[in-house]
Symmetry: C2
Subunit: 349 residues, 2 copies
DNA sequence: TTGTATGCGTTATCAC
DNA sequence: GTGATAACGCATACAA
C-alpha cells in the first residue's frame, strides 16, 4: 500500500515517480518518449517530478526493450594520434547532440586486431560501429556484425574515374569513401610549378590502406604530368621514423627536391631532420608536403603545406550514414564520398 | 519441439546454443561466468558452440541482471588535446584489458558543463565515472551520482605538507591527487641554477584547478628560495594564446628571463614567438619550461624541458580506484596520490 | 489518451 | 552440479 507521500518500500525510482505523479508506470515511460501518446500536462508533471528525483530512464532497460543501445562503437589504434583524436572529438560531439554515446575501443599498436575485440564490442550491441583502423579483416568484421551495422572508412584506388566501389567482402557495409586525388593533384601542380621533379614519398604504415592509396594516386598523377615516379621511403606515420628516414635519404641516399609525406606527423619529422640535422633550408633546398592538416601544421615552427581532409565534412558524412542505417536497417549499403584539397603554407616554394 | 539440428523457431541465440549443447539456458550463462559452478567439459562445449555461432552474452541484459554495466564514463573538454588524448588512450587500454569499455562524453569548449550531460551519462549506468574536466560543479556531480561512483582528479594546494584532503562536497568521491610540487621545485632549482630570476608564468585556463594549483605552488617555491614572485600572463592552455601572450610580454611588457608555461602546448607557442617573431634565442636569452611532457615536447623543433606527469602511473592509480570501488561499493572515499618530476631537455640553460 | 500485461537477454535464487 | 523461475528496467501491443 502507498504511504502518505505516495511511496512504498521495494519500489523502483520509476515507480516512485509514477506514484507521485498519480499515473501508471507506463505513463512515466511515455513521458520520456516525445512521440508516445500522453496528455501534455501529465507529461510535464512526470518530467518535473523525475527532475526533482533526478530520475532518468535506464539505457540498459531501454536497449533491451527497443533493441537500440544508443551506443556507437569506435575502434582506433591510437586515441592520442592527432588526426584520430580530432576525428573522435568531432564525432563524439556530433553523436552526443543526437542522443548517442561513443563507445571507445583500442586495437594493438601494430594495428593488428585482436579477434576477440569485435565480439567483445558486439556484446554492447552498438547501434553502429565506425571502423577507423584500416586492417580490420573484412571477414572478421562480417562475422561479428552480420547486419550492415558497421561504417567502414575506405580510401579507394582512383586509377581512373572513381566509379562505384568494387565488389568485395567489405562492400556489404556502409562506407565513407575518401577521394584523395584532388589534393594530391594540387600538391603536385604546386611542386611542379616550383620546378621540383625528384620527389620522394615518405610512406605511412605499409599495411594502411590510406597509405597505399596515397602512394598509388601520387604515382598516377606524376605519370600523367610526365614527371618521374616518386622514390618510396619506408615509414610508419610516426615522427621518429619520418626524422630517421629523411636522414638516411640525404646522407646515404640520393636525396630529393621534395618530400611528400603520408601524414603531417611524419612530415614534421622530415622537416626537423632537414633543418636541424642536415642544415637544409625549407623550402629553398627541399620542399615538403604533408597530409591531414592537423592543428600543429599551422604552428610557426612547421608552417606545413599539407593536404586537408575536412574533419567536419567527414564526420557529418559518417553521422549521415549512421542515422540513415538506423532508419532503414535493411536498405542496401550506402556510400558517402568526401574529397581533399591542398592547404598552402610555407614549406613549398 | 526441436528440429533435427536442435533448433526451433522464435528462439534466441542463447537458447539455440543451449539446445545444441544439450544443456539448459542457465548453463550457457554459467559457461560465460568463470566463477559460476559448471562442469568443465560442459563449459568447454558451450563456449565452443557459442564461438561457432558467434554468440556473446548481451551486456544490456547482463547489466540489468547484475547491476554492473562494465562501462566507465569519461568526460573531457577535448579528446584531441594532446594530454587528454594520451590519458584516454592509456585508460581505455587498461580498462579494456579488465573487461570494461570506455564511454566518452564531451563538455563544451569553454569547459562549462551542460547540466544535462551528467543525467545523460547516468542513463547508461556506468560502473564508474572519471571526471577530467576540472570545473564539474561538485553539487551537480553529487546529485547525479549519489553513490561514490565518480573518480575525481584533484590538484590540491600544497602550501605545506599535503596532509589529508580538505572537507568539501567533492570529498565524498574517490580522488586522484596530483602533487605538482616536486616537479616545480626541480624546475625552479634548475632555472635558479642558471641565474634566472625574473620568471613569467604563462597561465592556463583561469578556472582550471590544475592551472591555479600550478601557479600557487610556483609562487610558494619561488618565495621559499627568496626569488621574486612570477609575473602572471593570462592564457588558456592553447598554442595561439601562448604565442600571442609571449609577443605582448616582450613587445609591450617587461619581458622575462624565463617562461614557465602551464602546459606544453602553450610553451610551444611561447617558443615559436621567441624564436621566430622576437628573434630571441632559447635558452640563451630566455629559458622555457612546460608542463605535461607530451610526445611533441621531445620533437627536435621544441626539445622542451618540462614537468612530467607519468601517464602510466596516473592511469594505474585511476584503475586501482575504479576497481577498489567496485569491490567495496560502500567503503569510505579512497585517495590515490601521484607526483611529478622534471624532464630536462634543451630549453633551459 | 490511459492502464495492464508481456517480452527484451541475462543472472541469482532456489530447489533438486 | 544442474535446471526451472523470478527479477532487473524499460517500451509497447492490446484492451479499455
Amino acid at each position: 500500500m502507498g504511504s502518505a507521500d505516495g511511496t512504498r518500500k521495494g519500489q523502483s525510482i520509476a515507480e516512485i515517480v509514477a506514484d507521485r505523479a498519480q499515473v501508471s508506470r507506463a505513463a512515466v515511460s511515455r513521458a520520456f518518449n516525445p512521440k508516445a501518446p500522453l496528455r501534455a500536462d501529465k507529461r510535464a508533471l512526470v518530467l518535473q517530478i523525475a527532475e526533482e528525483l533526478s530520475y532518468v530512464p535506464n539505457m540498459a532497460g531501454r536497449a533491451l526493450a527497443t533493441q537500440r543501445s544508443h551506443l556507437v562503437g569506435v575502434i582506433v589504434p591510437h586515441v592520442c594520434s592527432p588526426w584520430e583524436g580530432i576525428e573522435i572529438d568531432a564525432l563524439t560531439t556530433a553523436l552526443q547532440a543526437r542522443g548517442f554515446a561513443t563507445l571507445l575501443f583500442k586495437t594493438q599498436i601494430d594495428r593488428s586486431l585482436d579477434p576477440k575485440l569485435l565480439s567483445y564490442m558486439r556484446a554492447y550491441n552498438p547501434d553502429s560501429v565506425v571502423v577507423f583502423t584500416e586492417n580490420v579483416p573484412p571477414d572478421q568484421l562480417h562475422r561479428a556484425f552480420d547486419q550492415a551495422v558497421p561504417v567502414y572508412v575506405d580510401y579507394p584506388d582512383e586509377a581512373t574515374d572513381p566509379g562505384p566501389p568494387p565488389e568485395s567482402a567489405m562492400n556489404r557495409f556502409d562506407c565513407l569513401r575518401v577521394l584523395q586525388r584532388d589534393g594530391i593533384e594540387q600538391a603536385v601542380a604546386l611542386l611542379s610549378g616550383f620546378g621540383r621533379r625528384r620527389i620522394a614519398y615518405l610512406a605511412g604504415h605499409p599495411k594502411a590502406q590510406a597509405n597505399v592509396a596515397r602512394l598509388r594516386t601520387l604515382q598516377q598523377v606524376l605519370a600523367a604530368r610526365g614527371l618521374p615516379p616518386a622514390a618510396v621511403i619506408e615509414g610508419d606515420f610516426s615522427y621518429q621514423r619520418g626524422y630517421d628516414a629523411t636522414l638516411e635519404l640525404f646522407r646515404a641516399g640520393p636525396g630529393a627536391e621534395a618530400i611528400f609525406a603520408a601524414n603531417d606527423v611524419s612530415a614534421f619529422g622530415a622537416l626537423d631532420a632537414l633543418r636541424h640535422s642536415l642544415g637544409l633550408r625549407v623550402p629553398d633546398a627541399v620542399s615538403v608536403v604533408g597530409f591531414d592538416d592537423i592543428d600543429q601544421a599551422a604552428w610557426r615552427s612547421y608552417d606545413l603545406t599539407t593536404i586537408k581532409i575536412d574533419v567536419e565534412e567527414r564526420v557529418a558524412a559518417l553521422v549521415r550514414l549512421i542515422l540513415q542505417r538506423l532508419q532503414h536497417r535493411t536498405a542496401p549499403p550506402l556510400t558517402e564520398t568526401i574529397r581533399t584539397k591542398l592547404v598552402v603554407r610555407g614549406t613549398v616554394g
